[in-house]
Amino acid sequence: MTRKKRRLVLISSALLTLSLAVGLVLFALRDNIVFFYGPSELAQKAPQPGTRLRIGGLVKEGSLKRLDGQSVRFAVTDMKSEVEVAYTGLLPDLFKEGQGVVAEGALGEDHVFRADSVLAKHDERYMPRDVADALKKQGVWQEGAQQLASPGK
């Protein structure tokens, strides 16, 4: 094989791998991305029931209901609109009423959001950024309001 032919083999295998990767990425990006909405955005955009979504906001005070077994219901609010969430499973350690939360799942026909995973924040001082942004859009959240305990930052 000449140098030219060898190079051709090399380049074509590189192109093949790359185009495979590009194909896979485009395919995966079409079906496997999940949009994030705050409660107000959710009400406004009204996505198709069954579409996978992430929603985030504050857990409304007094809304947490423990149903039989492992099921819970709570409302996520951004102080303007709210959405009812149903979830079965263990709530994260930092889940609390009045605190930030992110839930992933899909909206049902009955406008109840069926979550299959619920995330709270990692640290009691900070709000999940997505939640903070969703709240900021509604003018509820001010930067720095919660950062009382961090004088140096």
Partner: protein, 662 residues
């Protein structure tokens, strides 16, 4: 007082780094040996100063000096000593200091252990390393000063985030940084080689041990992080395709590719341009990882406080170093000589394919990690890219690597024989197929698990095929007698390769076996029983217990197998009063290679406890595999070929004999 001297030491370290950024390069340009000789001693002094600064901060944390903002925010007088020490890097400022410490450590190591290197190469390497150090020292001093004092010192600190109060914090960040930041050395080597314009087998020989060292630490650091997440998050997951995890996986993929292509460059002087490019890429990805994790663009336990000013500073560093090196690359790479020739089917060809797949995998991870950020910046739309994306893109591109790995090992350099290699792997292929059939008949279950297990067995056996052939020459008793002697004579690198590859196979086996696991979420009262996999669990009691800086509630659970008690686990939920924060601690019993995993949540009003119980067969293999990979790396590192004397002789030989024309 010690705190102020620590701060001062950092300023001095910056001054020295600036000196070392200029003088050695100037020396190598003008051929002034005295200026070049400045580099090693200044690098050592710089390391000493940064180490002192680090010591000063550690001292403040251990002594609970609450006049320091950093200590107040991240420590508490009741915190156990191990977390007082590891808490030093459990925050933004301290972790950046650790980052720079590792950077200085590698520079000092090069200064000490590379006396055989050509003077100008060493001077340039240390100078480039000093550029990086200057940038990050400036970053610390201007935006993230760990030594900032408070005017009114409070009596007590805020405590460390409970999620971080874990032995994992003592091990995972230092190891990860040794890997992550260790790659800075390969970057410095690449930049230095581009500046001096001399890129040959000798260069590959010098850069390879450093790459290997960084790779070993990175492998262990990622594995440790994954195990930590596994036992502390309570979901039983060990890899979440979280952007922060991806930030460490990308440099690992690039470093793995680099490791393989330096082999080609060292043996055959081929792929020079590509090797240099990968060396730049690997550290660039480390820098991008640092940016993602430290700038606060991501929400994660790793992103401590977010401050836009810091993000912009790191972004600036990123642009200068990645952009600068790529510009240097574009300017110089064109002038490189063509390397040795090889047929597509050959050891080199296999390694090229390996590189192609690894870098493509890396690219998909890169896209999956940064696409959401880019989309949000451009359109304001928030999306998340999770496991389904990576399962669809990364997995199909990585899977061929498992098939090709043993084949590549059995191909000859220059021109290989594919069918010959396949023939040598007949035992491995057979073992894989038998394992598949046996598992399908015995366990059944998901097809993916069966197929991947077979593939894993093939990789494990196949990794040793080449070694076995070289050890047991001929047949019968004499072959076995001679094997011991031959084993001693074989280069340890051959063993290293075999173990590292087998380790990846072992990890794959652990991953494949997750398909046979079981998971249950139930509410339990004391006395209740749960059946999980082959075991019966009895939830015995819930008891309160006081820890040093937390109160916990432990749920004692007995694990029995057909009536016989095997183990008792104590999953717990902890409450840390200083931060008013809950955290659960999973109860894990390792039985054979599998694990029973249980985490509990708060006690409900009716006295029952919500629990999550898993049976995870062979799960420990995931991390044991990583240990085996790292062991293989250490074997290679101890190879005679890597020792300094050999490199020196090679360098001399290269210098004395004129390069043959190609």
């Amino acid at each position: 007082m010690i705190v102020e001297t620590g701060h001062y030491a950092l300023v001095l370290a910056l001054a020295l780094a600036l000196v070392n950024s200029v003088l050695p390069i100037w020396g190598s340009v003008t051929g002034d040996r005295r200026l070049m000789a400045v580099a090693p001693s200044v690098a050592l002094m710089g390391f000493g100063l940064v180490a002192y600064a680090f010591f000063a901060l550690t001292y403040a944390h251990v002594a609970s000096d609450f006049s320091l903002a950093n200590v107040v925010e991240n420590s508490h007088s009741a915190k156990p000593l191990i977390y007082k020490i590891s808490g030093v890097w459990g925050n933004h400022e301290g972790s950046m200091l650790l980052w720079v410490l590792v950077l200085a450590l590698f520079a000092a190591a090069v200064a000490l252990f590379s006396s055989s290197m050509p003077d100008d190469l060493r001077a340039n390497v240390l100078a480039v390393q000093s550029w990086i150090a200057s940038a990050f020292l400036l970053f610390i001093l201007l935006t993230s000063n760990p030594f900032a004092r408070l005017a009114n010192a409070p009596a007590e600190g805020n405590d460390l985030n409970p999620l971080l109060q874990d032995p994992g914090l003592a091990i995972h960040p230092p190891l990860l940084y040794l890997g992550y930041v260790g790659l800075s050395i390969t970057y410095s080597f690449a930049a230095a080689a581009l500046i001096s314009g001399r890129i040959d087998a000798v260069f590959a020989r010098f850069v390879r041990p450093w790459t290997l060292l960084a790779w070993i630490c990175l492998t262990l650091g990622i594995a440790m992080g994954s195990y930590w997440a596994y036992y502390t998050l309570g979901w039983g997951g060990f890899w979440f395709w979280d952007p922060v995890e991806n930030a460490s996986l990308m440099p690992w993929l690039a470093a793995t590719a680099l490791l393989h292509c330096t082999a080609v460059m060292e043996k055959r002087e081929a792929l020079k341009i590509w090797t240099i490019f990968l060396a730049i890429l690997a550290f660039s990805l480390s820098l991008i990882g640092t940016f993602l994790v430290r700038s606060g663009v991501l929400t994660s336990v790793h992103a401590f406080a977010s401050d836009p000013q810091r993000g912009i500073f790191i972004l600036l560093i990123l642009v200068v170093f990645i952009g600068g090196s790529l510009a240097l690359f574009a300017w110089r790479a064109g002038g490189l000589k063509q390397g040795g020739l090889f047929a597509p089917v050959s050891r080199e060809g296999a390694l090229v394919l390996n590189n192609l797949l690894l870098t493509t995998c890396c690219a998909t991870v890169f896209i999956g990690t940064l696409y959401p950020l880019a989309l949000e910046a451009l359109t304001g739309e928030k999306i998340s890219v999770g496991p389904p994306f990576f399962n669809l893109t990364f997995a199909p591109l990585f899977a061929p690597l498992f098939v090709l790995m043993p084949i590549g090992q059995n191909l000859a350099w220059k021109r290989g024989d594919f069918f010959g290699a396949a023939q040598r792997l007949i035992v491995a292929i057979g073992a894989g197929l038998i394992a598949m059939l046996a598992l399908a008949a015995w366990r059944g279950g998901p097809v993916v698990s069966v197929v991947l297990s077979g593939l894993a067995i093939y990789v494990i056996v196949g990794s040793f095929a080449d070694l076995g052939r070289r050890l047991f020459v001929g047949g019968g008793a004499t072959a076995i007698m001679g094997a011991g002697q031959r084993a001693l004579r074989l280069p340890r690198q051959a063993f290293g390769t075999a173990f590292a590859h087998a380790g990846l196979g072992v990890t794959l086996l652990g991953l494949a076996a997750t398909g046979w696991g079981a998971e249950k979420i139930t509410a339990l009262r004391p006395g209740d029983e749960v059946e999980i996999g082959p075991y019966q669990l009895t939830f015995e009691s819930v008891q309160p217990r006081a820890g040093p800086n937390f109160a916990e509630r432990i749920g004692r659970t007995a694990i029995r197998s057909s009536g016989v008690l095997i183990a008792t686990i104590e999953p717990s939920t902890r409450f840390y009063p200083a931060r008013k924060m809950n955290r659960s601690e999973a109860g894990i019993a390792t039985i054979g290679l599998g694990q029973v995993y249980m985490s509990i949540a708060d006690v409900a009003a009716n006295g029952s406890v919500n629990a999550r119980v898993f049976w995870k067969p062979l799960v420990s293999l995931i991390w044991i595999g990583a240990l085996i990979m790292a062991f293989g790396g250490c074997l290679s590192l101890s190879d005679r070929g890597f020792r300094i004397g050999v490199a020196r002789r090679a360098a001399k030989a290269a210098a004395s004999s004129p390069q043959p024309a190609e």
